[in-house]
Symmetry: C2
Subunit: 396 residues, 2 copies
Amino acid sequence: MVEFMTGTTPRPPGARRTAATARQAGAVPVESLPRPVGTDRLDGPESAVTDVEGVSDGQDAAGILEQARRSFDPELRSAVASLPASMRRVARYHFGWEGADGTPTAGHAGKAIRPALVLTAAAALGGPRARAAAARAAAAVELVHNFTLLHDDVMDRDATRRHRPTVWSVFGDADAILAGDALQALALRMLAEDPHPAARAVAVRLASCVVELCAGQHADTALERRPPDQVALCEVLAMAEAKTGALIGCACAAGALYAGAGEDEVEALDAFGRQAGLAFQLIDDVIGIWGDPRRTGKPAGADLAARKKSLPVVAALTSGTPAAEELAELYARPHQEGEEERAALVVERAGGRDWAQSQAADRMARAVHELSRAVPDPAAAGGLLALAEFVTRRSS
Amino acid sequence: MVEFMTGTTPRPPGARRTAATARQAGAVPVESLPRPVGTDRLDGPESAVTDVEGVSDGQDAAGILEQARRSFDPELRSAVASLPASMRRVARYHFGWEGADGTPTAGHAGKAIRPALVLTAAAALGGPRARAAAARAAAAVELVHNFTLLHDDVMDRDATRRHRPTVWSVFGDADAILAGDALQALALRMLAEDPHPAARAVAVRLASCVVELCAGQHADTALERRPPDQVALCEVLAMAEAKTGALIGCACAAGALYAGAGEDEVEALDAFGRQAGLAFQLIDDVIGIWGDPRRTGKPAGADLAARKKSLPVVAALTSGTPAAEELAELYARPHQEGEEERAALVVERAGGRDWAQSQAADRMARAVHELSRAVPDPAAAGGLLALAEFVTRRSS
């Protein structure tokens, strides 16, 4: 699954916009939507971020994330500390708390957007008390996210995660699989141990979400193996929703459940998270093609060179345009050095870039609409909107 | 993790012994303890079993297993049916319900000892009502067991499981990892959905057990990589308890919890399962060296040829005898064809075989003692004793 940007990003002054303004303007914060030119890949290096726009309601996404970290981090660390030494070592490395040799490190890996969404959703619907009660659930969601990262990296043979060698590449496949298994178990144990009346429903939801994440990862690997002309756009969208949207939706729904919200609100917050997650994935795919390598930390057009069937690519391939045929021919043969620029141009001419951007705008609009259903008070919704915009923001 | 024998084993008439007799005889049913000569490997072919001894209290292990299957199978199948198509297919193949091409098969894979232990423990302490209530928990335990099998086979590169190609060898590593992940999630979801007051405590226990199983599998792979002279016997015993004993103990404890048993009884049943599981592992290791290939379906001395650091081998290596030195030299170089018999003799001369047999007897004695603490009524304890003897029985 996709990882959000790492490191702490101080929000620059100015450029604020309230949630209320956003919704009054027609529920689509289009002006704050990402534009791919010069954007930083969302999981790119911290230093790439020079400007953040669209933070809502006086609530600062970086501040929310920092505050969230203070709430769930003790729960997360104590769960990991309960592991037997062999698993603990691997988990602590994965979370960025230790080096491969066990030396403590100052930082932590990942932005931890998902636990922040749990806490912010709980606060939006239930105030500070619900937020405090949801700390364990927030840690459980983060454990599940990290279990899937550990396993996905094994399957995808990804060598780097959060700018560090992946667990399997340091400790071997077996330890990466076992540590992932243990983190899933820890997550569901935390919820089983939580006496809060919402914990059971959240456990059911989180376990169902794991199944959906697995199906999404399965679809991803299956789609990547299929010939490009046998991949439908709706399939890639469904895959992205299962692989990226589901857990973001589940995080928001979990927060709502800890706030004692009704079924409609819970489902609306789930839909909010899913749509925001899809918007994020669309933008991430756009950046994977047109992102500035100085900001993304990856060579330009890396996804095209790898013949990745990302959302803009499949939109282009299925566009029925002459450029689609050209792209199909290009994807049918192995990548040749130096052709990235031409490939990117072909995807753009076939409408892949425009489609992805307007889809992202559409998904964000739907997300904001769902949010307004669940949390009508703009002030209360501000934190969630700030986080959603944070993960789909541009920095040009 | 080790899989118990597959297929249905009709119990021959005669040779019965009651639980009461067993305990009266000093809590050690030594006469029913396995002797390695000519024993069948417990996960060996069904046809290997020609004689079963030591079934207790008029309760027939095969009958108990069959009856258990009728109780938990609907829950298991409905959980698997709830999976998305991609995961369902892999799971149904793994459980032996379908061929690799999706063709339904008549059978099912594995003896399903663990869910039978859940149900039999519930019945022993809470009667038929507790047994009926524990059906979901029994299915959850079986799901966890099978999730670990799926993942272990990937890590160990085992090509065969229950006489069929393993999932990773048919569907690839990714699907085996994902299906395992999904089965763990299903197991813990079933318990979260179970309104029974014991479900929460069982979920905590089962999740903790998963962590222990992971640590056990980690220890196993780590021990196999270490030089033979750097492996202590207590380490291998601890590994076997984590890898094999923990889930068998957890199954028994889960049944006790569904019967509303007190903490002492729950812990005693956990200890019963752990000790019986260790006895099973010791016997399985003995059979791995001295088992009759016509019965085990594996070449004689296969574990020695693979330089496996099984319990009798490590006992021999650490015996301080001259034969230990001979064995160490043998293990220091690659296996040569035809030397299995000599190697087996060296392990035996170093006392590895005697040690493993007396350890197994000791563990069964402890198991029976723990059982009598938890279930003082011999009639009520009969089913659990029959199952424990079934998994550690001899057939010579």
